[in-house]
């Protein structure tokens, strides 16, 4: 009879982890739909950034209240998950609190888990209040439609329930309570159950234990469908984050080749391209859909947890324009998911669905409102770069569609004709000297 429980546990565990692994594979495939970019450089700096920004939460705490609460939840979750290891071993082998054999250290361990669980519980409630009662502006912007709002709340409920189950599980574990070591919090919860019979208390303990581990597996699998992927992707995302100065935009290599050719007096303008170079020009300049963006931008999109710090710092958004850097990331992710589902439905081949990231998700009005000031990039706690997506899409609009606003076309014509954005003669450039 005992083995049935072990077997059920093993099956649940395999399904839970297996389904998650399947979705992770899909996630990686989708990210790889982006164009190639070589980021194998400067590994020490990249590891350092990951350690400081993701592991060390250095940019989270720039906003002290949200930062502190976040650090509690983050540390709590990582540390309490040591307990999950014990649960898994107990579940598979039918043991009970297998680690308790380590002696008094076990009490210290569980005691600290219990304290953290309470701190996480309180922090999560404060997070919920900030979203739903105080209604902080950045959680109620236009792009925060019903799903993003619900998603955020579901995550908070999940965490509340998991912490509660952990404490109830400990409180109703009679042998554990009798040990009277490590039950720093649960000893105050235990009296609630004192009126029940011993068998009922045991039943509650078993129920809490099962619901706790099943809840964790459900939560794990919920990640892929929610904004909460950042708990995993923040690490690679900060590793691959931009290392060059924020003001430095990449130079398009394909354009460099063209320009060098145009400037080279020794090149025969009528010559046919050398053998084998025909296919080398990119199909298009800039990005109109997710496959035109590089894979780091796509990783950025999956990493975004919609905190909205970028949008709250954006000068365009602050002055009522439609642009919201968070929406740029959410749109990119939503379109990428749509493309991924399209590929799944069409046996691994993307079938044109008459849609694209430009216009169907991100409007031109949003793209042209950006001042390229980098406030969004600076604000992101996990090194997401919305500006590079905006730039790639502007490149598409200008170089593929000649669809810049008319004043910008005038500005560019001026630069082409007389080397300045205004219609002044280049020969007058030094006139100021004598004025």
């Amino acid at each position: 009879m005992n083995y049935v429980a072990n077997l059920i546990f093993a099956i649940i565990l395999i399904i839970g982890i297996g389904y998650f692994a399947k979705n992770v594979k899909k996630l990686i495939r989708n990210i790889k739909l982006g164009t190639a970019v070589d980021l194998s450089d400067n590994k020490p700096q990249r590891w350092k950034n990951m350690a400081l920004i993701a592991l060390g939460q250095s940019k989270m705490v720039r906003r002290p209240i949200a930062g502190l609460l976040h650090v509690i939840v983050y540390v709590g979750f990582i540390i309490i998950n040591i307990e999950v290891l014990e649960i898994v071993i107990d579940g598979l082998f039918g043991t009970h609190r297998v680690f308790s054999s380590i002696g008094s250290a076990y009490g210290v361990l569980i005691g600290s888990f219990e304290i953290l669980a309470v701190l996480v519980f309180v922090s999560v409630i404060l997070f919920w209040i900030r979203r739903n009662i105080i209604k902080l502006n950045r959680f109620w912007k236009n792009e925060m439609t019903s799903w993003p709002k619900n998603d955020a709340n579901y995550i908070l409920y999940f965490e509340m329930v998991l912490m509660m189950l952990f404490l109830i599980m400990n409180a109703t574990d009679v042998p554990f309570q009798n040990m009277n070591s490590g039950n720093v919090i649960s000893q105050y919860i235990a009296p609630i159950f004192s009126g029940f019979s011993e068998s009922t208390i045991h039943l509650i303990e078993r129920a809490a234990w099962w619901m706790h581990i099943v809840g964790i597996l459900i939560f794990l699998n919920y990640l892929y469908f929610s904004k909460h992927l950042h708990i995993l992707l923040a690490f690679p995302n900060t590793y691959y984050g931009k290392l060059t100065p924020k003001g430095q935009f990449n130079n398009l290599e394909a354009v460099t080749k063209e320009v060098k050719m145009m400037m080279d007096p020794n090149i025969d303008p009528f010559a046919a391209p050398p053998e084998g170079t025909e296919g080398q020009m990119p199909a298009k300049f800039g990005a109109s859909d997710v496959q035109d963006l590089n894979w780091v931008s796509l990783l950025n999109a999956y990493t975004c947890t919609e905190c909205g710090r970028c949008t709250s710092e954006c000068p365009a958004n602050q002055t009522g324009k439609k642009l919201s850097p968070r929406k740029i990331m959410m749109d990119t992710r939503d379109r990428l998911e749509e493309v991924g589902k399209n590929i799944d439905a069409n046996k691994g081949e993307f079938k044109d669905d008459g849609k694209q990231l430009l216009d169907n998700y991100i409007t031109r009005e949003e793209l042209w409102a950006c001042t390229s000031c980098n406030a969004c990039v600076e604000a992101c706690p996990v090194s997401i770069d919305p500006l590079s997506i905006i730039l790639e899409m502007r490149r598409y609009l200008v170089m593929e569609q000649s669809a810049a606003p008319v004043e910008l076309n005038n500005m560019m014509t001026n630069i082409e004709n007389n080397g300045a954005p205004w219609p002044y003669n280049q020969m007058d450039r030094l006139n100021w000297k004598n004025e």
Partner: protein
């Protein structure tokens, strides 16, 4: 007064078989915009005062391509860049100073990959060096004790992490430096970047420069110091929109120092 300005060109230096210490990249705004020309002249006065052997490209200078690149026109940007790099390399330029953070960022960060490798300084960094080397002295003079706030240009601050040079110069004026709510890495854009300077803003409920000007006015400055010709225009327009022209002046740091010296 202007006949006192010494503004040699690279062509003149080369004709004499000499090489200047530094090239002053004037930029389009500094060459053509009436307000920015005053900044250019103030900076030249300081260069003359410190006996810096500098030269300009004059009619051989052309737009760096910054507004074209930020608009998405990579072709036009690279055409400009490659042309400028050819001129700069032909003159064997090693060091460049500019009063425009956009030119600064583009030449410093985006030209090297295209073959243009120079030491590039913003004029506030260069002036700081002149002070440290004792080639230029600042006396507080007329700005002593004045309330001055500094508006960080995005392409100098966040884009390139230069926050201290302009502030040190203001402090050298013995002025009272006051910081806005959003400053340094959290500085709010003036609204001109990303080629916004050259177009009407998108529909919204306020202009960015007005928002930024309000932040500046909140700290009750007598002077808003800027380090970028475009920020200067935007903040000046903001002050006009708020009808504060008689109370608050928008000045470039080079102008503050030149005025303090009565140059």
């Amino acid at each position: 007064m202007s006949e006192l300005l010494k503004v040699p060109t690279m062509a003149e230096y080369t004709a004499q078989g000499k090489q200047p210490e530094v090239l002053f990249w004037v930029g389009c705004a500094g060459s053509f915009d009436d307000r920015a020309k005053k900044i250019t002249k103030a900076f030249v006065k300081l260069l003359n005062e410190a006996n810096v052997e500098f030269a300009v490209l004059g009619t051989e200078e052309s737009c760096t391509g910054d507004p074209a690149k930020r608009s998405g026109n990579e072709f036009l940007f690279q055409m400009q860049a490659v042309t400028n790099i050819e001129v700069l390399n032909a003159y064997e330029v090693k060091k460049i100073v500019t009063a425009c953070p956009h030119c600064f960022n583009t030449i410093k960060n985006e030209y090297p990959e295209l073959g243009g490798n120079y030491e590039v300084m913003h004029h506030t960094q260069f002036l700081k060096t002149l002070l440290n080397e004792g080639r230029l002295t600042i006396e507080g003079g007329k700005y002593k004790g004045k309330r001055i706030t500094f508006h960080d240009p995005c392409y100098l601050g966040r884009a390139n992490n230069v926050y201290e040079a302009p502030r040190e110069l203001i402090q050298k004026l013995e002025a009272e430096l006051v910081e806005m709510k959003n400053c340094k890495r959290n500085g709010l854009c003036c609204g001109a970047g990303g080629a916004q300077m050259f177009k009407e803003p998108e529909k919204g409920d306020k202009d960015v420069n007005v928002e930024r000007t309000e932040q500046a006015l909140d700290v009750k400055p007598e002077i808003i110091a800027a380090g970028c010709p475009f920020c200067n225009t935007m903040m000046t327009d903001g002050i006009k929109a708020k009808e504060k022209e008689s109370d608050v002046a928008v000045m470039d740091i080079a102008e503050l120092i030149a005025n303090a010296q009565d140059l």
